[in-house]
């Protein structure tokens, strides 16, 4: 029995590395920069050698193997590619808002590699983003972790195939507005949100048992057992219960955060990350003890009632209480300066440089389950690197180059201004969007609201 498992695991890992092996890899030697490893300190005048997409060596006076280009980073800062744990960039659809639980939908189905937001994120040093379903449902769809391999036309190329599965949950105002007030079904209150979750997980347990019973009966000779209805929605909830999927839950208020912690504990779920978590600071010890932490805004508050009692010191309080804490964007604009958002933890809580940087590198990597591959500059990790002029935590920092798997996808000096991959053949005047709606947590829920302006009020 055990042997088979090992074989299976081996096979799986082979499959996984195979999928990673299919995407383009590069080699580069980044010379003489100030190397911010995040996890192992900072080294001045140090080189980083990336070969075939992997960090081969970090050290002084490294020589470029033949055929490997060298980038001079003298006077510049070299840091791990920034990871955004909450984004909606590169998604054609954000919300399947029509039911309180839509666990069966997969954002991987609607990844759009042409979206200019990917390049703009690269221009902010961001190499990985967590492309999430929106927050209209108590249980939303399954998210996609993206690697910003800009220029590919194939969505498969920008999906990080070896990242674990994650799923969006959402509590509070958004799901209660969409379903309770919009459609007249549960949940209309935070009580209903909990009930939807408990009902869903209990149904999933029944579903699991029904299939187990069927499979057991089926293996009997001459069985006339008939299969239960297939239901990917419940199957996905089963996968959550089986620990195969990390929950990323949109949440604001301390009470609802605490509620989900209790639900998760009752169902034996420990792969749980809170998103936004504006009142996470109030239950920081609980978040630290029972979950994979919180991914928060640096300073957003007061745009809706459930974030009125927020504090910009949230990240610092969570971090000081031992919760894994990351800073995210949830915005096509903010994603371009997450280094600056992370730096705000120094104004609001005096975090050290490494602590601040960990919030946009190794911590989000941990929350996405990819910290063995990315999130710090360590030998053996992926060659995802951002080079900055000025310390990345300085307000005057300017990203210079961004590499994914050792391939350069952003260069401040060499890139064309116009990075559009697709241009309409019938365009006479390029559309000008002055108030581009940056925050798309509630995109695709338009039909549920009478006016666009009503929608305007319900971001995040």
């Amino acid at each position: 029995m055990k042997k088979i498992n090992i074989l299976l695991a081996l096979c799986l890992s082979l499959c996984l590395s195979f999928s990673w092996a299919q995407t383009p890899k590069g080699s580069v030697l980044i010379k003489n920069g100030t190397v911010l490893t995040v996890t192992n300190g900072t080294y001045e005048n140090t080189d980083v050698l990336i070969q075939d997409g992997v960090i081969k060596k970090i050290g002084k006076d490294l020589n470029a193997p033949s055929g490997v280009t060298t980038v001079d980073a003298t006077g510049k800062y070299v840091m791990p590619g920034i990871i955004d744990a909450h984004s909606h960039v590169a998604l054609d659809v954000v919300n399947e808002a029509t039911a309180p639980i839509v666990a069966e939908v997969r954002m991987k189905d609607v990844v759009n590699p042409y979206e200019i937001g990917i390049y703009r994120a690269l221009a902010g040093g961001v190499t990985i983003s967590h492309a999430m379903h929106g927050s209209a449902n108590v249980v939303g769809g399954q998210n996609a972790t993206l690697k910003h391999r800009w220029g590919s036309s194939n969505p498969e190329d920008i999906i990080m195939q070896d990242a674990p599965r994650t799923i969006k949950f959402a509590l509070g105002e958004n799901p209660t507005r969409v379903h309770g007030r919009g459609n007249g079904i549960q949940p209309r209150s935070r009580m209903g949100v909990e009930a939807i979750l408990r009902n869903g997980f209990n149904e999933a347990l029944q579903y699991k048992k029904a299939w187990e019973d069927f499979n057991k009966a089926k293996s009997q000779k001459g069985s006339t057992a008939v299969a239960p209805e297939y239901n990917e929605r419940l199957q996905t909830l089963v996968d959550i219960l089986d620990g195969k999927i990390i929950i990323h839950c949109h949440s604001y208020r301390a009470d609802e955060i605490y509620m989900l912690i209790n639900v998760a504990r009752d169902f034996g779920i420990d792969k749980l990350v809170f998103q936004h978590t504006n009142e996470g600071f109030k239950v920081a010890p609980e978040i630290a003890e029972y979950t994979m932490g919180a991914s928060v805004f640096a300073d957003w508050w007061a745009y809706k009632f459930e974030v009125y009692y927020s504090t910009a010191f949230n990240a610092a309080i969570l971090h000081r209480n031992g919760a894994i804490t990351s800073i995210n964007s949830d915005s096509a604009e903010l994603i371009r300066h997450l280094y600056h958002e992370a730096a705000k933890t120094q104004r609001y809580g005096n975090l050290s440089d490494d602590e601040a940087l960990s919030m946009i590198t190794i911590n989000p990597a941990r929350q996405l389950g990819i910290d063995d591959k990315v999130g710090s500059l360590e030998e053996g990790k992926h060659g995802d690197v951002a080079i900055f002029e000025g310390h990345p935590l300085s307000s005057y920092a300017i990203p210079q180059m961004t590499f994914v798997d050792g391939i350069k996808y952003f260069d401040i000096n060499e890139d064309q201004d116009d990075q559009r991959q697709q241009v309409s053949p019938t365009e006479t005047v390029e559309p000008i969007l002055l108030t581009e709606h940056n925050h798309r947590c509630m995109q695709d829920t338009e039909h549920l609201f009478e006016t666009a302006s009503a929608l305007f009020q319900m971001n995040q």
Partner: protein, 562 residues
């Protein structure tokens, strides 16, 4: 993108049914419309029997809907009506591999009182695999006339509907007296379009729901199999969705997936790979990036028969700064790339066909010429219109070439078919002959006076639902013309006005176009007519909805009023 155009006010005017007064071909025909013979001979024409074949002088005899002989020394039956083909060119009739000509979307069923948008009944959510295009097709639709006029003699019609609209059917575009049905239940029409305001509402939901329906159809079949061969088994729940999906799951009929661009092509193929059905993608507009994938995946490919409007390219100005020029270049590059795709796809060895869904049949030749100019060979274009389409819908036994024994579907032109001056003179469909007026193109600016069109015109247009009208004002503007047109506002509030564009005059022919905005989208309308003195008669073509007669008279007070 398909939109529920029938819901918009303008198009709501065109109710079906007024055409439907059945013309019965009994023995006697008091209308006097019945032809005296069903046998025709086209003598000594230049016949291109199949794509790529050289034109050869031959005579074609068709009888009772079948080509009975093709060749140089054929016997002409006594009953044949002879049409001298000496100056004519004959091609196989075109086949529209995915069409909605003559298709009317059925009324949405009423929502049950216990309707819950998160779990709607299949029929309301756009999951109606049991529906058939045969129930939605009307041969007397002006859309069918327009399609036939463009040389199409056979159409694979797909039902209108949601994510799983129903089953397609093959129709010959013959006379009104027949059902014209060749084969029903040909394919399942599917799309990535969600239902408004209910589950599944978006592409992600649709893809998940498609998997769900597919897998549960499989399981239902297993349950039925167990039930029918055993006792003591609970009766399986049989519903019309799973029943109607069975042929798809068993590989008996393909899924025709509507896709517009490369990303949607990938989405349809990913579903196909995961579930294993036979797949044909139709309606492709942007696919340059997936030519290799289309080739390697072996799915059927049906391109939208339309090339982008070149207005944007033509309106690019000369003396612009560097930044604007760079923008222009990218649009031009995109345009060039778009029209070159078909040629590249053919070169890659993909045997594609065409679809006229959401395209204007009257622009088909223009689009084909643009594709040919950008690298598509004439024989590949012809194959797409005939043999490829025939194979794709399983009709190559009876259609696609001009051969003895095939269905009498022909396109007869005044010149080599893709040449600029060539016009369609006759279309033979199902053995019936349809004649079209040949316009003698008068050269402009050769000292020959063109008609004066400036003025204010009162026009009326006839639609199946009645007549409507408005004012058309045309002003001369240097060498060009500009103006406005008024019409009943589709939103139901009085009169709306739009500027007219592309005003052109050729001899006594006036043509122009304008856009009507209805329900948040723009519908383009083109008008052409013959002017004689102060009156004009012609037709008004409303994108995708067909042509309707229009007549106008000039208001003599125009000049004094100004």
């Amino acid at each position: 993108m398909k939109k529920p155009l029938w819901k918009t006010g303008l198009l709501g005017l065109f109710a079906w049914g007024l055409f439907g007064s059945g013309t019965l071909f009994a023995q006697s025909d008091p209308t006097g419309q019945k032809p005296i013979t069903q046998t025709y001979a086209f003598t000594n024409a230049t016949v291109h029997a199949s794509p790529g074949s050289e034109g050869q002088k031959a005579t074609i005899v068709v009888k009772d809907g079948v080509i009975i002989s093709v060749g140089s020394g054929v016997t002409i039956p006594a009953a044949a009506k002879v049409i001298a083909g000496d100056s004519l060119y004959i091609y196989p009739g075109f086949i529209d591999a995915a069409s909605q000509a003559g298709i009317t979307k059925p009324e949405d069923p009423e929502r049950p009182s216990d309707f819950v948008s998160s779990n709607p009944p299949d029929e309301i959510a756009g999951i109606t695999p049991w529906r058939s295009a045969t129930d939605q097709f009307d041969i007397s639709s002006s859309q069918v006339d327009d399609l036939r006029k463009a040389g199409f003699t056979m159409a694979h019609v797909l039902p209108d509907g949601g994510m799983i609209a129903g089953k397609g059917a093959i129709m010959v575009l013959g006379t009104k007296g027949s059902t014209n049905l060749i084969k029903a239940n040909t394919a399942l029409a599917a799309s990535l379009n969600g239902s408004r305001g209910m589950y599944p509402g978006t592409t992600v939901g649709v893809m998940a729901k498609f998997r769900d329906v597919y897998k549960n159809t499989n399981l239902t079949q297993d349950r039925i199999a167990t039930f029918t061969s055993n006792s003591g088994v609970t009766r399986p729940e049989i519903n019309q969705t799973y029943s109607a999906m069975t042929e798809v799951v068993n590989g008996q009929i393909p899924v025709f997936f509507e896709v517009e661009n490369d990303l949607e092509v990938r989405r349809a193929i990913s579903l196909q790979k995961e579930l294993g059905f036979k797949l044909v993608v139709y309606g492709l507009e942007q696919y340059d990036e997936v030519i290799d994938l289309l080739k390697s995946s072996g799915v059927g490919v049906i391109l939208k028969l339309e090339t982008p409007d070149d207005k944007a390219i033509k309106s690019q100005k000369d003396d612009v700064d560097e930044a604007v020029q760079a923008q222009y270049d990218r649009v031009k590059e995109s345009y060039d790339r778009t029209i070159a795709q078909a040629g590249k796809l053919a070169e890659a060895g993909v045997a594609f066909a065409f679809s006229t869904i959401d395209a204007k049949p009257s622009d088909a030749m223009k689009s084909l010429r643009a594709m040919i100019e950008a690298g598509l060979t004439e024989s590949a274009a012809m194959a797409a219109l005939t043999t490829n389409a025939a194979s794709m819908i399983g009709m190559n036994r009876i259609a696609g070439t001009v051969e003895q024994g095939k269905i009498a579907n022909l396109v007869i032109t005044t010149g080599p078919i893709f040449s600029e001056d060539s016009q369609i003179k006759h279309v033979v469909a199902d053995g019936s002959i349809f004649d079209y007026e040949i316009k003698t193109k008068k050269k402009n600016g050769n000292g020959e006076a063109t008609v004066e069109v400036a003025g204010t015109w009162d026009y009326t247009s006839e639609t199946p639902a009645g007549s409507s009208g408005g004012k058309l004002t045309i002003e001369k503007d240097g060498d060009d013309y500009s103006g406005t047109i008024t019409y009943d506002d589709p939103s139901g509030n009085g009169t709306a006005t739009s500027p007219i564009s592309d005003v052109s005059i050729s001899g006594s022919q006036l043509s122009f176009s304008f856009e009507v905005s209805a329900g948040g989208m723009a519908i383009s309308v083109s008008v052409s007519g013959e002017i004689s003195g102060n009156s004009m008669d012609g037709s008004m073509n409303i994108a995708q909805f067909g042509s309707f007669p229009i007549s106008a008279t000039r208001n003599p007070n125009f000049i004094s009023n100004n």
